[in-house]
């Protein structure tokens, strides 16, 4: 987050304060509440949980979603502890130490794996780590990787809050090979976090109590009860015309297609008029046009 927001004139400000100023300039209609502290200490943690429970759009109501954009394991575990205790849905995001992979993860306590359910997930690199890591040198960072991860995180947030598309429970990004693995992980029944286990039980009860889902219904044909004038729906373009204007579709993998096709060159099926060369010079033609 810091690399996406900090500008030289903001030197001396905390990351969150600089972020607020920059974001407020982009959209003044957004409401911000800024806190700059270490959430892992006992004192601050209480305040942190309190703001999650009461800092919603209406003070006193909980927030709708928590987005974790921190850069260390300890802070993530702390957010996980808070959200498990409060039953708060959240999305975790991160970029790897070598800066060439990242991920987002949707955590719904009891329904999907929490951050403590399994050891930290790593997007497989398929590269020789020795080419990247040198002894005694710490983490790398690439704002490009962070930008990509930030984009897919917000995209997932939009889909989640506005209820469209498929919300990913986990989406990884491998920058070296441009690979985006997705998956969802069930919670661990033996998770170390007591509250995670508690929410798992509650979720199981909730699922058992739901009415049985019916099989997917066929899309019903729209049939009008009367059709006094015998109106029919016919394509504007005839079958034959369609066939003549289509060309071959190239061999493409799943998920990719062409916007349109170009037919192979063939005999003119439609009468056309072609321009003639009258022998006039360009100046003549220009003058002719002017005099019309």
């Amino acid at each position: 987050m810091n690399r996406l927001f900090f500008q030289p004139h903001q030197a001396g400000l905390s990351k969150v304060q600089a972020a607020e100023y920059t974001l407020r300039n982009i959209n003044p209609d957004v409401l911000f509440e800024v806190h700059n502290y270490n959430i892992t200490t006992v004192e601050n943690f209480q305040h942190f949980m309190d703001r999650i429970s009461n800092g919603g759009l209406e003070e006193g109501k909980p927030v709708d979603l928590v987005l974790s954009c921190v850069d260390n394991f300890e802070a993530r575990m702390t957010i996980n502890t808070a959200c498990n205790e409060l039953g708060q849905t959240w999305m975790e995001s991160g970029v790897s130490e070598n800066a060439v992979s990242g991920h987002i993860q949707l955590i719904i306590p009891g329904e999907s794996a929490c951050f403590a359910c399994a050891p930290p997930l790593v997007v497989a690199a398929n590269i020789d780590e020795k080419t990247l890591k040198r002894e005694g040198v710490c983490a790398a960072s690439l704002p490009t990787t962070m930008g990509v991860v930030a984009g897919i995180l917000v995209q997932n947030v939009l889909k989640f809050l506005l209820n469209f598309g498929t919300v990913s429970f986990y989406l990884g990004y491998n920058a070296m090979q441009d690979f985006f693995p997705t998956m969802s992980m069930k919670p661990n029944p033996q998770c170390d976090d007591r509250n995670c286990r508690k929410h798992q039980e509650e979720y199981k009860k909730k699922v058992a109590a739901l009415p049985k889902q019916e099989a997917i219904q066929e899309e019903e044909e729209i049939i009008h009860e009367d059709n006094e004038w015998g109106i029919e729906l016919v394509s504007e373009v005839s079958e034959e015309e369609l066939k003549n204007s289509s060309g071959p579709i190239p061999d493409l993998p799943e998920g990719i297609t062409v916007a349109y096709t170009v037919p192979k060159k063939q005999e003119d099926s439609v009468a056309e008029v072609t321009v003639e060369d009258s022998g006039e010079s360009l100046e003549d033609l220009m003058a002719k046009m002017k005099n019309m």
């Binding site: 892992t40 200490t41 006992v42 943690f45 300890e74 702390t78 403590a116 050891p119 710490c138 170390d192």
Partner: protein, 167 residues
């Protein structure tokens, strides 16, 4: 993985039993007692091995720890203040030790003087929750960090012995 000497030292540090963090009230008190027992034993071992290299104490709640550590280089003894908080997720996550007076003097450190540990430390700690405690943190975290960083800082002239400073 830690070297042979470190492994031997660590194997002689008593492991802890209670899996409790600072928000767990009575269980935390139990854990604190175990922490102190383990630390006392570790310091005794160090004294017997003529390598008494740190002291630690905490506030009443056991949530804030502070003390000193020493490092001997070329027959000179260097002293540093250390401090750390117990995170709410302890012992699942280890505390971050800070050496405030070295803040900004080495790349192997975060802002505020928190030391940057090796890649080995976190997985090792995670595999040994809740058996590892603050004594193990000192032996596997701060100890090796001092061993690598202090000679380097001395050699670069970034830190000087207090006696030399007063001359």
């Amino acid at each position: 993985m830690a070297d042979e000497a470190t492994r031997r030292v660590v194997s002689e540090i008593p492991v802890l039993k209670t899996n409790a963090g600072p928000r767990d009230r009575e269980l935390w008190v139990q854990r604190l007692k175990e922490e102190y027992q383990s630390l006392i034993r570790y310091v005794e071992n160090n004294k017997n091995a003529d390598n008494d290299w740190f002291r630690l104490e905490s506030n009443k709640e056991g949530t804030r720890w502070f003390g000193k550590c020493w490092y001997i280089h070329d027959l000179l003894k260097y002293e540093f203040d250390i401090e750390f908080d117990i995170p709410v997720t302890y012992p699942a996550t280890a505390p971050e030790i800070a050496v405030p007076e070295l803040d900004g003097k080495t790349a192997k450190m975060y802002r505020g003087g928190k030391i940057c540990l090796t890649d080995h430390f976190k997985p090792l700690w995670a595999r040994n929750v809740p058996k590892f405690g603050l004594a193990h943190l000192m032996a596997l975290g701060l100890g090796p960090w001092l061993a690598v960083e202090i000679p380097d800082l001395i050699q670069k002239g970034v830190i000087q012995h207090k006696e030399k400073c007063n001359q």
